[in-house]
Symmetry: none
Subunit: 406 residues, 2 copies
């Protein structure tokens, strides 16, 4: 649904909508011919499916495997092909580093180069996060003319670089050659929308190269992690803000920084949700009266899927299933359960497969589904719909969309 149309039709109401995102929910048949969700003993989800309607959501497009960013943007009602969160911005978001309007971020990798400056290990042996934190401290001291800079560790060899200043440009090439035996690349200004490169891109490339050579000097005595590469240049994404767009108060209840960050990028308040489903439910209870929309994120399905651990993903589904009575006890008018993408344990990776979708609440056209699983969902009454239509559909059921036309 186009933001302009949402602005026109969104109507305040006293209803509450809860969107439960079971990360990487969709799966593929395992050893016994059933998917993780079908294998799971999940009587609560099955009952919601029986009393409500099911279908499938397509995160980005048919055949497209989404990252976490696009998968969530779609569930927040935005077309992930239109709105992109650059890698650097997503990485910053993941460590709760909120970018400002003058910030330019990149994802950095520590690497190891030999005496000739040629890369011998692109990930510096996946150096410990503590070491990266120490190096980040050193690199933060680099001084560049006219800009501030921050270097923050992420995990293992990964870090985030943020430059803060006027007229910085993301139209700068990446310095990671993506192979060993060659030196890191120089940053170069990229041609923008116009014909040539702009002065902002040229100056930014100079600043980046200045940072890289000074960093190389500071790290030169190290045997490993003595150089770095930078990619995914990104400024703060300019995304529609859910509260203004939909005229409601929106809160996120997520235990992982990345998802809290994504929620913040679309204007949600991020509640202190602790690190377990219990603390998440407690947060919902404490703030129930204050918000109209709640985004509840459940990470463990995806982590297990990524690890290729079929049974652990089954158990992650079952653990969320057991929490459902407490979610329902809060009294949401509309409850949606889906995922941001599929992560079949059999692939140990994100995939392009459609994601099971369930909607429960008043005015749902109940279908004849008797359980929540990929097979039932493929035949479900909601059909197979773009993930970005899930939120409008939920808000329609909650009486938050006015009639279009007379």
């Amino acid at each position: 649904m186009d933001p302009e149309l949402i602005r026109r039709l969104a109507t305040p109401a006293s209803t509450k909508v809860m969107l439960c995102v079971m990360d990487g929910l969709g799966g593929l048949p395992g050893p016994r011919g059933r998917t993780e969700l079908e294998e799971a003993d999940s009587p609560q989800l099955d009952r919601l499916a029986e009393l409500g309607a099911v279908g499938q959501s397509v995160p980005v497009g048919i055949g497209i495997t989404p990252g976490s960013g696009p998968g969530h943007l779609a569930l927040f009602g935005l077309d992930p092909l239109r709105y992109e969160v650059g890698r650097g911005a997503l990485e910053a978001t993941g460590i709760e580093l909120d970018l400002g309007p003058r910030d330019l971020a990149a994802r950095g990798n520590l690497c190891t180069v030999d005496a000739d400056g040629l890369i011998v290990d692109r990930r510096a042996g996946r150096v410990a996060t503590e070491v990266t934190a120490e190096i980040a401290g050193v690199l933060s001291a680099v001084a560049l003319p006219g800009v501030e800079l921050m270097v923050r560790p992420v995990r293992e060899h990964r870090f985030v670089l943020v430059l803060r200043g006027d007229d910085l440009s993301a139209d700068v090439s990446e310095t990671d050659p993506q192979r060993v035996g060659v030196p890191p690349l120089e940053a170069e200004p990229l041609a923008g929308a116009g014909d040539g490169t702009g002065p902002a891109a040229e100056r930014t490339a100079e600043l980046v190269n200045g940072f890289v050579s000074e960093a190389r000097r500071l790290l030169r005595t190290r045997e490993r992690a003595n150089a770095l590469t930078l990619r995914g240049w990104a400024t703060r994404p300019d995304l529609p803000q859910l509260p203004a767009l939909w005229r409601l108060r929106a809160a996120a209840v997520a235990t992982y920084p990345m998802y809290r960050g994504l929620a913040r990028l679309v204007g949600m308040d991020v509640l202190d949700a602790g690190d377990s489903i219990e603390t998440q439910i407690a947060a919902l209870g404490r703030h129930w009266a204050e918000y109209d929309f709640f985004f509840v994120h459940w990470k463990h399905t995806d982590s297990a899927g990524e690890d290729g651990d079929f049974l652990r993903k089954v158990r992650a589904i079952e653990e969320f299933d057991r929490a459902i009575p407490r979610l329902l006890a809060l009294g949401p008018d509309v409850l949606v359960v889906t995922g941001d993408h599929s992560t079949p344990a059999m692939m140990a990776a994100h995939s392009w497969h459609p994601v099971p979708l369930l909607i429960s609440g008043r005015h749902v056209r109940v279908d004849d589904s008797h359980g929540f699983g990929e097979g039932e969902c493929a035949r479900g009454g909601l059909g197979t719909i773009p993930a970005r239509e899930v939120l409008p559909l939920a808000f329609a059921h909650a009486g938050r969309l006015a009639k279009y036309g007379a």
Copy 2:
């Protein structure tokens, strides 16, 4: 389907297509767990479903509740998000007042104001239509410089105002404050697509305010219905004309003015169809040889749904069902049955739910549906398609669409 593509592919043929629109057809499960259509004893529709194929149409978009205008434009093959019929134009259409190219229409409400000019009743106690007709006669005598004007009663307190003249603009604000205790608003020119307001909008606002103050003077001695509000400024919509677009002769057989008007807006001939299904069928019979496409409108399903009367909606479906043998006896090559939107009796209102769709005729890929109901349709062989694709699909089955590309 894009009008440009239709123009390129539309092919004359000797086939006849009948589109039966059961207004507000889609429903929600009632007391016995079945929708109105599922509850209805409708052997003819069930047989058509068995011999044909079923699916669902989505009038405007997922989660969007359509008004009658957008719902019908979609069934006439037009994207209702691209083509809009303004409230004033639709209201004029509803009383068979066809707007000309120099006309500007608004929907008017008679209201009651106190001695200080503050609104005390926004609908003037839903004054009788006859009273509104009398007042409309009085107001029609108002003289404005350079424009003609017409005031026509609609129903109860509602009327239509039409200004006819050169360079009138719909970019004028509404005078209805939408609440009591305040005076009606002044009309003001609105900023158009450009930066400021145009001279046409400024002059139109002046004319409108002139009309309002003169009307107030004429009505000042009345105790009730002594003032008015105006909203939904609209000029004649510029819609593609079905006969030229599809290279065929199109006729509408509708008993309600609104739907006759909508058909006229897309270039259909409107037949004298009386006020019952019998007179509608008689009109079809009289004119069968003269047209290639017939739009048959059945209103009672929607009226019953709007009234929240589940059983009356069931009976309205059954009444139409009994007429089907006589429709088939005319010999349509392709028969489509669907609705312009859902009007579940359980909601007593239009809704966003997809609408049952049925197609019968030669070359239909028969699916395994055994009846015409929401459940069967959600699983039907036609799938869930935008309502604006229903007409191209029907015309394809009627051999009226040439092959695309060599």
